[in-house]
């Protein structure tokens, strides 16, 4: 009962801050709304009793990714007080196409999925030990592939952002 009230609180907060991301004029404001929204999603993981995943959400999306986004935004020529850039341009129809496709896909997937029903059916409190056991015994190969993915992402980022040596 109390968890349901809190769940609704979190759900509304996530949707509200997500709307803030879309409607705020300043990109930095949008990034800060994004932090709140992602942290709220971390809260939802707690309702699913996977506290490790919730904390990963806080750490990676709340901390690391948004710091990355903020630093990337500050790299651009932004000005919080200046007039906002023009929001529409020749890209508008393509943007609309991508947005509508994504919306239809998400709605379709969420309608087609057979949801497990009540949250109470889930096993209670999935611990980090259980996650570790499964990850390193059954999913060892995907884990190693993930490391290769991280390596590729790392090298790619360096290749893109590396400064050329001054001559």
């Amino acid at each position: 009962m109390i968890t349901e009230i809190l769940w609704w609180f979190f759900a509304i907060a996530i949707v509200g801050t997500a709307a803030g991301v879309v409607f705020s004029r300043s990109v930095v404001h949008a990034a800060i709304f994004l932090i709140l929204s992602l942290a709220g999603v971390g809260g939802l993981y707690i309702f699913l009793t996977v506290e490790f995943v919730a904390l990963v959400q806080f750490l990676i999306y709340g901390g690391a990714v948004t710091v990355l986004i903020l630093l990337a935004l500050m790299m651009t020529r932004l000005d919080a007080t200046g007039a906002p850039d023009k929001l529409t341009g020749p890209q508008a129809p393509f943007g609309a196409l991508v947005g509508i496709t994504l919306l239809l896909t998400l709605v379709g997937v969420s309608l087609a999925t057979a949801w497990p029903g009540d949250v109470d059916d889930l096993p209670t409190n999935i611990t980090i030990e259980q996650i570790g056991d499964v990850m390193f015994t059954s999913y060892g190969a995907p884990f190693i592939i993930a490391s290769a993915l991280l390596l590729v992402a790392f090298i790619g980022a360096i290749v893109f952002a590396k400064q050329e040596d001054e001559v």
């Binding site: 968890t3 506290e51 690391a64 790299m75 570790g132 390193f136 992402a153």
Partner: protein
């Protein structure tokens, strides 16, 4: 203590922290003086009048370090479940992590060779 009990403590502490800062700010607004004077709201640049734009662009190296941090942060997250369980897992699980750390060390080595670890 149950699971929800612990995490509602986190939620309550979150609210308590916000209330703490909020009361301090409101208290200062009530107690502190306030004078309508425009000169003091000019941003501080060592006593000179501010020049140029208020926001400058930051250098690309901050982005580079942020993305390297992101990769290593993800790596440490994979180590967390391993660190608490590796003594009870079969030996291939132990060697998976050794391999994983070595691959990421290769990434760090690459960054070192490409001189991106230097701050310039």
């Amino acid at each position: 203590m149950s699971f929800y009990d612990t995490w509602s403590a986190v939620f309550i502490a979150l609210i308590a922290g916000v209330i703490l800062v909020g009361t301090a700010l409101i208290g200062a607004r009530l107690l502190g003086p306030f004078a309508r004077e425009q000169g003091k709201s000019i941003s501080y640049e060592c006593g000179m009048l501010p020049t140029g734009k208020n926001w400058t662009q930051v250098h690309v190296r901050y982005y580079l370090f942020a993305i390297m941090f992101l990769i290593f942060d993800v790596e440490t997250i994979f180590i967390f479940p391993w660190a608490v369980r590796f003594l009870d897992l079969p030996s291939h699980a132990f060697w998976y992590m050794v391999f994983f750390v070595l691959i990421l060390s290769g990434a760090l080595f690459y960054a070192w060779r490409k001189k991106v670890l230097e701050w310039r």
